[in-house]
Each structure stands twice: as structure tokens, then as C-alpha cells.
């Protein structure tokens, strides 16, 4: 199978590999996929509490080159966006940017799911924080 130059670039130089502290209230973590299916993505965002902007994003992915590239690209796009802007990232944007063939579209879907899962985790944490604050008072 031939890979697009962009997929190769992300595979050879993955951006933003790593992990952030899951318990940090400013960090949202999304983990999607399953080992039996051949791909698992973990995507994390860190949101600046003052600006509401995603300051940092990290990923780790078990999966084929296109899955690695999709999640690497997602972290690039997430940085600098607000949480609401981040929710507008669509899997088709990833497909177009990376020139993914039809058999690899599921990789982009997984990346979109990972973004949504990370944001949802972050929002739940924020809600919980507000609740915890309210209780403390």
C-alpha cells in the first residue's frame, strides 16, 4: 500500500506524543478503540482556565500508520482552539488533509471520536469542579 506524503510525515515525525496527568482538572482524556480491532487512540487536551483555549494536546496511538497520522494531526489542530471550536473538527477534514483512502476512513472517525471523548471528559471534570466548589462553600 502506498501512503500519502502527509501520512508518512506524521508517522515519521509524530507531533505531540506523550501523556498528561489524567487527574488534573484542566486535562481532558479520551481513549477510544480496542486492541482486538487493531487500534486504540488516547488523546488528551489541556485547557487554559482563564482563556478557555486548548494550550496543549498529546496523543498515544496503537494502530496503523493512518491511525497514528490522524491522531497526530488532531493534536496539531486542537492546539489554540477553544473547546467549542474543537468540536467542529470533522473526520472528513482529516481524510482530506491526509488523503486517506477509503479503507482508512475509520482511522479518521476514531480520531474525531477521541477529540469528542477528551472534550467530554474535560467538561465533566469542570462540572464536577463547580459542584465540588459549591459543596465547599
Amino acid at each position: 500500500m502506498a501512503y500519502s506524503d502527509k501520512v508518512l510525515d506524521h508517522y515519521n515525525h509524530p507531533r505531540n506524543v506523550g501523556s498528561m496527568d489524567k487527574s488534573d482538572s484542566a486535562v481532558g482524556t479520551g481513549m477510544v478503540g480496542a486492541p482486538e480491532c487493531g487500534d486504540v487512540m488516547k488523546l488528551q487536551i489541556k485547557v487554559n482556565p482563564l482563556t478557555g483555549i486548548i494550550d496543549d494536546a498529546k496523543f498515544k496511538t496503537f494502530g496503523c500508520g493512518s491511525a497514528i497520522a490522524s491522531s497526530s494531526l488532531a493534536t496539531e489542530w486542537l492546539k489554540g482552539k477553544t473547546v467549542d471550536e474543537a468540536l467542529t473538527i470533522k473526520n472528513t477534514d482529516i481524510v482530506n488533509e491526509l488523503a486517506l483512502p477509503p479503507v482508512k476512513i475509520h482511522c479518521s472517525v476514531l480520531a474525531e471520536d477521541a477529540i469528542k471523548a477528551a472534550i467530554s471528559d474535560y467538561k465533566i471534570k469542570q462540572g464536577a469542579d463547580v459542584a465540588a466548589l459549591a459543596q465547599a462553600h
Binding site: 500500500m1 509524530p14 477510544v32 480491532c37 486504540v40 496503523c64 491511525a67 497514528i68 479503507v103 472517525v109
Partner: protein, 403 residues
């Protein structure tokens, strides 16, 4: 630069000596081996008969027992369908195994639609069939046992002599797909009690598109219903003008294998063992798939846990190997052979098959080992699974969001 070729179970490079033997039969010696009236025919026939003798001599057969075909897919089809049709009055039951090549499995599936009953034996964790299970699968309707000599993915050798003995005792014909074994390990149709055996030239440094079926002539005399109608070549079992250059190549490949097999298998198993040792010394969580004891000398099949196979292949694009990962197969299903061993899909996705061959060198082994190790380490830094395992998380207890 072309990639280093470590995929010798898929096909092998033509040996230059084989090519030399074939060349005249493309040009000045172009006769039809069935032409009985002139020298062109006679020299072609002579070349075909020489090849028959070279093949027979490698496998302990008589040259009259060799039927030329277009390759092992055809040999398997001819053996299994030919027996099923010829012996239909005696019975309709065939026994085979879950890890067979598609050329056997799909032939059996075809026969099931025509009213045959087929038992697909499971294999044990080491890839071998259970002899007791085979024994109890035989009924008075069983006409054929078809079990491969060596598997093309994991290189595991089946207990062929035991199967042959059992088949003979029970009066059942025994076919073996010996494509991966012939020329690599000693194969003898007499001592192994084999009645039918498929071989192909391109897995033993010969050309593609030519193979043979061994068909026993004595004790018992095996008969087959031909699958191609035509001029009645090959004692009526396989019509069609013989591929003389290909047949010459197959014969030469057998002669070379007979002369060099002992030496070559020692050399290749040494290289294979070194490759394995390097992986095991440098990496944790690597696993061998299939029996190491009953195995072809040149095969290694390993799972590099927590690293998906296709991403691994992408990092070693200057090395030609194959993976059991779904992403690399047309069906998007991980290897059915590895699953038959009881491997979970997760481990099948991380497997790589190494097939060493005649033209590989020690330097290539070192290069492949070092390269693969560095890519596995890099991809494990990227792997959320590896990170979780290192944190002490039991992956089997995690609630995954399957998609």
C-alpha cells in the same frame, strides 16, 4: 535500493542455476513434449522425464508418480476434488485442518456444497493437530485426510509420519500440501505413507506457475478424476501441453535442493535463531507463534505486543516481511492461522512473519534485527497499550469502546 527480502514463504528468488537450465527450452528447444514424430518433441520429452526423475528422487517417489500442474493451487484442487469424485461411492467424508492454505480450505468448502462432509480439525496452541482427535474423526465414510506438511505462516510441521501411518491403517487416502516443506526438510513419501502430495516450484527457488502432484501408484494405487478435459496428458490426470521450461526449472530446483538441503537448513536455522535471540535480548513482551520444536528451519513468526503490525511494517519499509495484522490483509480480518492457535485478535494484529532463504546473509539478519528493534521501541513510546501495561493495568479488564 530494493528492500531486504525476508518473505520467502510467499515466494522465492529464482536460483540463477535454475534459470540457466531453463533458458534453452524457451528458445531453440521449444518442442511440444507430446510431439512423438520428431526431434523437437523428443528433446522436450526427454527434458520433462529428467525433471520427473529429479523431483521423484527428492521425495522418495517413482518418476511415474509425478503429475505436472500449474502450481500448488491446482495440485491441491486436483488431489482433493479428484479423490472426492473418484471415490464418491466409497464415501464422502474429508478431514482437514483449520490452518490449511486457502487452496485446500476453499476446495473443501466447494465440495461441501456438492454434498461432501468436511471435518476441519482445530489445532493445539503449538499449531499441531491432535492425533487423537484425528483418529476419532475418521468414520467409515472417510475417504481422504488432507493435512499440510508445514504451515506457510508459522512454519509448524505437522506429525506427517503419524498421520500417514494412521491413514494407512484405516484405509483412508492421505494428501499433504508440502509446498513449504519440500526442499527445506527431508520429505519421503514412502516412510511418511503419503498418497498424494502437492508441491510448487516458486517456493523452492524455481519459477512461478509450475508445480506437481505426487500420486501414489502402488500400495494403494491412487486414482483421480481429472479436473481438466482435453488431450489426456499426464496419464489422463491433467490435460494440457506441458510447460517445458517451467518443468525443467522445477526439476533443477529439486536437484539443487537435494544436494544442498542439509547444509542450507543448518545455515538458515542458525540465522533464524540469531534473529530471535536478538529480539528477545532487546525487547520485552515478544512472543513466538507456534511450536519452535516442530518447525521449518527458516521460519520465525513473532508477536511484538502493543505494536500494530502495519505500523511496524511502515517503519521497516526497506525490509520485505509480512504481518498477520488485519490492516495488511484484503479481508480486514487478522490471520485465521494465528487465531486457530488461540491467539487473541490483539496479538494477531502485532505479528510479523520472517521467512529466510537461500540468498539471505548474516549481515541482513543483523540489519533486520536492529532496525526492527528500533522501530518497535519507537512505536511502543507511541503505544497507549504499552504505557498502560507498564503502569500495571490489566488490559483484559479495561472497558474498550469497540467501534
Amino acid at each position: 535500493m530494493k528492500p531486504i527480502y525476508f518473505d520467502n514463504h510467499a515466494t522465492t528468488q529464482l536460483d540463477p542455476r535454475v534459470l540457466q537450465a531453463m533458458l534453452p527450452y524457451f528458445t531453440e528447444m521449444f518442442g511440444n513434449a507430446a510431439s512423438r514424430n520428431h526431434a523437437y518433441g523428443w528433446e522436450a520429452e526427454e527434458a520433462v522425464e529428467k525433471s520427473r526423475g529429479q523431483i521423484a528422487s527428492l521425495i522418495g517417489a517413482n518418476s511415474k508418480e509425478i503429475v505436472f500442474t500449474s502450481g500448488a493451487t491446482e495440485s491441491n484442487n486436483l488431489a482433493i476434488k479428484g479423490v472426492a469424485e473418484m471415490y464418491a461411492e466409497k464415501g464422502n467424508h474429508i478431514i482437514t485442518a483449520a490452518t490449511e492454505h486457502k487452496a485446500v480450505l476453499d476446495t473443501c468448502k466447494h465440495l461441501e456444497k456438492k454434498g461432501c462432509r468436511v471435518t476441519y480439525l482445530p489445532v493445539m496452541g503449538d499449531g499441531r493437530i491432535d492425533m487423537e482427535m484425528l483418529q476419532s474423526a475418521i468414520t467409515d465414510k472417510t475417504i481422504l485426510i488432507s493435512i499440510m506438511y508445514a504451515n506457510n505462516e508459522i512454519g509448524v510441521l505437522q506429525p506427517i509420519a503419524e498421520i500417514g501411518k494412521l491413514a494407512k491403517e484405516r484405509g483412508v487416502l492421505f494428501h499433504t500440501d508440502a509446498v513449504q516443506a519440500v526442499g527445506k526438510v527431508p520429505v519421503n513419501v514412502i516412510s511418511d505413507n503419503i498418497d498424494l502430495m502437492s508441491i510448487t516450484a516458486h517456493k523452492m527457488y524455481g519459477p512461478k506457475g509450475v508445480g506437481a502432484l505426487y500420486v501414489r501408484r502402488k500400495g494403494p494405487r491412487v486414482q483421480l478424476t481429472a479436473q481438466l478435459d482435453g488431450g489426456g496428458h499426464e496419464r489422463g490426470m491433467r490435460s494440457g501441453t506441458l510447460n517445458v521450461p517451467g518443468i525443467v526449472g522445477l526439476g533443477e530446483a529439486c536437484a539443487i535442493a537435494k544436494a544442498e538441503m542439509a547444509e542450507e537448513s543448518k545455515r538458515l536455522s542458525g540465522m533464524r535463531d540469531r534473529l530471535r535471540a536478538k529480539f528477545e535480548a532487546a525487547l520485552d513482551e515478544v512472543f513466538i507463534n507456534g511450536s519452535m520444536e516442530h518447525r521449518l528451519p527458516h521460519n520465525l513468526n513473532m508477536s511484538f505486543a502493543y505494536v500494530e503490525g502495519e505500523s511496524l511494517l511502515m517503519g521497516i519499509n526497506d525490509i520485505a516481511v509480512s504481518s498477520g495484522s488485519a490492516c495488511t490483509s484484503a479481508t480486514l480480518e487478522p490471520s485465521y492461522v494465528l487465531k486457530a492457535l488461540g491467539l487473541g485478535d490483539d496479538m494477531a494484529h502485532t505479528s510479523i512473519r520472517f521467512g529466510l532463504g537461500r540468498f539471505n546473509t548474516d549481515a541482513e539478519v543483523d540489519y533486520v534485527a536492529d532496525k526492527l528493534i528500533s522501530v518497535v521501541i519507537k512505536l511502543r513510546e507511541l503505544s497507549p497499550l504499552y504505557e498502560m501495561v507498564k503502569e500495571g493495568i490489566d488490559l483484559s479488564k479495561v472497558q474498550w469502546t469497540a467501534h
